[in-house]
Symmetry: D2
Amino acid sequence: MDKLRIGIVGAGRIGNVHAESITYHIPEAEVVMVTDPYEEGARKLAERFGVPKYSKDYMDIINNKDVDAVLVCSPTPTHAEITIAALKAGKHVFCEKPVHTSIECIKEVQKVAEETGLKLQIGFNRRFDHNHSHVQRLVQDGTLGNVELIKITSRDPEPPSPEYAASSGGLYIDMMIHDFDMAMFLAGCDVTEVYAMGTSLVDKRIGEAGDVDTAIVTLTFANGALGVIDNSRRAAYGYDQRVEVFGSLGMAADENDGDSTVRVSTAAGVVSDKPQFFFLERYMQSFTEEMRQFIKAIREDTEVPVGIHAGLMSVVLAKAAKKSLDEHRPVKVSEIYGG
Amino acid sequence: MDKLRIGIVGAGRIGNVHAESITYHIPEAEVVMVTDPYEEGARKLAERFGVPKYSKDYMDIINNKDVDAVLVCSPTPTHAEITIAALKAGKHVFCEKPVHTSIECIKEVQKVAEETGLKLQIGFNRRFDHNHSHVQRLVQDGTLGNVELIKITSRDPEPPSPEYAASSGGLYIDMMIHDFDMAMFLAGCDVTEVYAMGTSLVDKRIGEAGDVDTAIVTLTFANGALGVIDNSRRAAYGYDQRVEVFGSLGMAADENDGDSTVRVSTAAGVVSDKPQFFFLERYMQSFTEEMRQFIKAIREDTEVPVGIHAGLMSVVLAKAAKKSLDEHRPVKVSEIYGG
Amino acid sequence: MDKLRIGIVGAGRIGNVHAESITYHIPEAEVVMVTDPYEEGARKLAERFGVPKYSKDYMDIINNKDVDAVLVCSPTPTHAEITIAALKAGKHVFCEKPVHTSIECIKEVQKVAEETGLKLQIGFNRRFDHNHSHVQRLVQDGTLGNVELIKITSRDPEPPSPEYAASSGGLYIDMMIHDFDMAMFLAGCDVTEVYAMGTSLVDKRIGEAGDVDTAIVTLTFANGALGVIDNSRRAAYGYDQRVEVFGSLGMAADENDGDSTVRVSTAAGVVSDKPQFFFLERYMQSFTEEMRQFIKAIREDTEVPVGIHAGLMSVVLAKAAKKSLDEHRPVKVSEIYGG
Amino acid sequence: MDKLRIGIVGAGRIGNVHAESITYHIPEAEVVMVTDPYEEGARKLAERFGVPKYSKDYMDIINNKDVDAVLVCSPTPTHAEITIAALKAGKHVFCEKPVHTSIECIKEVQKVAEETGLKLQIGFNRRFDHNHSHVQRLVQDGTLGNVELIKITSRDPEPPSPEYAASSGGLYIDMMIHDFDMAMFLAGCDVTEVYAMGTSLVDKRIGEAGDVDTAIVTLTFANGALGVIDNSRRAAYGYDQRVEVFGSLGMAADENDGDSTVRVSTAAGVVSDKPQFFFLERYMQSFTEEMRQFIKAIREDTEVPVGIHAGLMSVVLAKAAKKSLDEHRPVKVSEIYGG
């Protein structure tokens, strides 16, 4: 079978990450075209990874008969539109999250994907992380028994600017969306209710901009388990990414990855490495693995590991959390979607 | 200064623990009398620790001029009554928790304590644990900066019988009361609001008896920090007792204590010790330390480390949590007390 | 059965440790007499633990018909003489290590012990440590398979004065003797050859006094396994006590004990506790346990857990190591003893 | 500056590892030719990494004017001859270890390298490992003070066949050579004396073939520090790679890398990951890093990080260790070289 031919829409940071994974680590595929309205970015990506074609207009990829699959790595507001165009042109699609901030739009994407029967994978890369995926396997293989409690911690090393916070859609959709997906991934089922707490302790201006920077959200899962997520926009010690699943037969929990396993013992104490700096360092392996599995699903015509349902429900939970915060009460997921 | 002379009301498990601490580890005090309606129990404790007097009736301690301080280790419903009697007889009191399940009764105890000016310490022993107290010191000395998030995990090794669960007052007051106190201890302030989730995943009969065995409760602290407690009545791997405090300058978290630090590496994996079995093993050091500090506070006429306010607020939070669960909404602490 | 009646010869630090263990933790025994040429020390110990009799002369214990067993906690040069006197007076003996620095003397003690048939236990307390003994159990129960490599690290927090070093008999007998015994304990057999390296890197004056402060000694065990011990008189981070056993089925290794399990994560790194300060903190539990087992062996008339053979062979290995260092070659144990 | 053009001699496992590093991770270089007497192997490597030329004869690389640097990845007996030919043809060389088993040959290589002034790097990849190199940096930057003790553990997951062991030159040169280099790397100086112990506990046939499979070697460093290396050809729990440096200000020690940080707590215990399987998994990052630094040294005309001195002294130490084992005595390095 020939190599799968891939077009990348968007030559920013994440577009480069995927281009690198494919070029260096996935011999079954090749990047044949990249587009970006900022044409110089597209040109640089093309040069860096030996991609033969680049342009400003994503329609050049959509219309390119030699492209089998499209990676949608453009800004969030354009995800749905490009995904739909690509699907309608007969191309498989990998779409970064969130698919859209409107549930109606996501459902439209879902409809098109179902009609075309093409592969559509959503970019929840953390599911492919070596630590978190190991915990999930222990759920799936029964080692932990029935899942009863799930705890997820995500804390960023540095807060965004208040301007970014204001325009990002808020912490629940900008940051916690990963954790909502992780929660469902670990539980193996959907969430039925959320209760959200949030405040601005890191930077008062984030609160003045109408967002929160410190948050706890509790979850009720469809299988009866309970869960809790905590987020902070700033951890002094770095990027903190941990999950814990507690079940009837035991618990699995992961720790942060450091740059080394060295422990230094001096009169000052016994010191270990801090967590790796941020998501590009910490999750690089997961970006490669999600791409590998996307390409494998196309080539072997099997189900993608993260479908549009995950893309939909993560946004639904973010909206439910925001509503819970605003109305200061637990919110049923059915109030937002599917009631 | 002569030894402080102590009378113990209640010769059960915890009465024996305190008698052992005083006899073996606190040379500044001695147990001079013990009472228990089950006289044989009192006799055995007296024999075991060389206590010169024992009887069935706690009034024998109250009326004993040679007793300086009373440890109230009797069943919960009798705590308040005995504490008041002892205070009125001019004796300092150490009272096991909970002081009472009625807030009115606790306030009555508080009033008598204030009127008499005698020492009254409540038995929240976990504050004296070598791990948890180290975390609290890091809050207090500013190492962690402003406290923003607090997480507490408490899981028992084995569930109680459904009958016990039914008669215990429920998980929030029977088990989580320790964690409510720990939360306020770590935060250094009171809690203003709680939201409680609870379910019976361990034993359906516990649910049928009207109680829960798996619970998550979120907390809003007076200083603006957020917190979360999770409880389970059964952890397959043993007694799980961990706290984590996250602040503007960093995080402190403790791990369970095992019986050894040995790691065994075989073809099956790298295996470490499970947590120590249950509270008598895990918290023995803390029982001795709380008693040492109680005795020190009396002898040096300083403030007791855990006063009646802690006894009161922990019960208030347990009641608020129960109300939150019943009414499925966040409950302000002021709805229960002090509003 | 009545309590075992114990006399303690020597009211120094270790005499007090044993008195505390017996008085507070071993209800099956009681200290009935203590002697010390420094009578004030004997008086203080007696007062502290309620011991009814004290005097300056250890013969008062030897001649006391109400003493069943004697703890020899006097300075090293007197160990053998007092032990022999006590055995001949029909008393069981617990003797601190080393029994003597002369092999002839130790053999004389051994002969008397065998003739009298009384219990004689040597004070290698580390065998009873919760960590090291756990490793040894894994050897004994076959978890690790055939033992192939043993590694022992012992490092003190602070060096002794050069004067002490000069008079102590040297590092191999003063400090590494514990590790020689630990090596045989873990291997379950004797050592047949040693090769010793030693130097003074911590304090040149220790070298000038004819001793070493930094040492590595390799061992060949009778069962064919290899071993290595490293010692330093000064570890900046504290008292470092670790063992590792590697066998055909796996490895067991222990870590130092800290005062808590807390990890503090800040911008400076992730910091854990240093090892507990020194042997009184680190090994207190083992002192109590060795005494408990000594008393049990007497009361149940079973073999003592650490007999005179251990006392003999540890000194033999120390001498072999010194000879190896002096002659700069591997030395067979049979050159020193039993050849 | 143009890309550095590299020829690879030897298309086996390690030749492929280097080709992958250069092709995927080092944009400053490119592989332009590969040779292998087994031409099919060369063809496959060329195809896999898009290398334009391949042949059977390494002289095709030596004579190729378009090759700037040669990687010598052929069998050990040919290393010196090919390295010399390449240097004489004006090409920089990266040579796998050991350079040769004859010290005379290595000195000849050294002479040619010095005469030509070209770069010559030896393949001690472990110096570039994220864990071990972190420990070395702590030595170099003074964090640990004066180095006093060095401990290195290397254990393979599975023993070689007795035939391989017989033909490999023996454990000291085949396996421990890495550890000899690591010891000098960590100490920052040469070794002056070794004492070797060795036995065959893993497979008696290895002993019958004249080799050992379990070994301890002690080291005296030129700076006065002491060291010890232990090796086993079979660790039931996997590839065990740890170093520890103890100095006047503290200690740094690393742990094995696992595939994840997950800990699983069940009734059976608390289980962590085993070490990563073997050197290709464990040290892949170090292979890339050594190549990156080799290419950087050429392009920036700076000193290579691992020169021929390391290649020479590691073989000298292996020979000294073998002599020590054979003659059962400590052997000065000057007996082998440079005396």
